[in-house]
Subunit: 177 residues, 2 copies
Amino acid sequence: MEHKGFTAWFTGLPCCGKTTIAEKVAEILKNKGYKVEYLDGDIVRKNLTSDLGFSKEDRDENLKRITFVAKLLTRNNVAVLATFVSPYQKRRDIIRRDIGDFVEIYVRCPVEECIKRDVKGMYKKALSGKIKNFTGVQDPYEEPKKPDLIVDTDSETLDESVEKVLDKLDELGYIEK
Amino acid sequence: MEHKGFTAWFTGLPCCGKTTIAEKVAEILKNKGYKVEYLDGDIVRKNLTSDLGFSKEDRDENLKRITFVAKLLTRNNVAVLATFVSPYQKRRDIIRRDIGDFVEIYVRCPVEECIKRDVKGMYKKALSGKIKNFTGVQDPYEEPKKPDLIVDTDSETLDESVEKVLDKLDELGYIEK
């Protein structure tokens, strides 16, 4: 199915639920016949940015490279689902400007709840000082000022959040639900 | 026009004529309605690999990142035209394996002729020692062992080389000429 490309950008604290929602959306869109690429920290840091750490400068460079790739895919009609903490509003604004067809989805969840989930044990390490520059612990997360959509993973079910994303993409003309 | 994606990889010495041929091929394919992306050193070093130099290790890392991008585009049905000196056979073999739909085009030209052309004055700088690690001067260029196509820019016209590329892409089933 040929359609206009876009990048759905899931931003939020570590363990807020970005990946779970984006993977589900990816699966649904693939089954509908859309061309889908999923980009996340693990994929990108392995293939594009293995030289980078988590300082503000390195995060910026990391996102700069991802933006280049997402832009190329988007303008070739791919549905790009990108899940990155991407804590700074200024950088997210640059990404939106560069990609154009960009949907900012704020995956909101209180940090206390994220700490409870702590899927990979990273919060624990950050709280004990074993990891530095961890967003939500030592580093700030700037909430999106005007996201295209907010999903609340501490009060919505996964299916509810996924439906909201699909509805928004439909409303914006990127998919037909 | 939806078609199978591929990466046409133009390899050869600096100033051998890679860019001129690839840009012409890109123009023709775009006019035919194909989705085309052109990747070259200037674009990539600006957006993906500004941290890298020209040592063997850095060239490898540079090409590793490009491969990731070209692979994503290729599997989403984009016609990727990539022009990189890419002097080492082993790396080109890895790129072929990773991308799959990969067409290796050796843009052949004697180094003496490339030195005469010296479009950006780089050979001059390399020969006088102002640039190091320059392929064709201090660094080796390993000729492709089994390229899909060889074009000879010191004996063919630009149009002849371009036709040969289009014929090969047609023969391989990637385009309809």
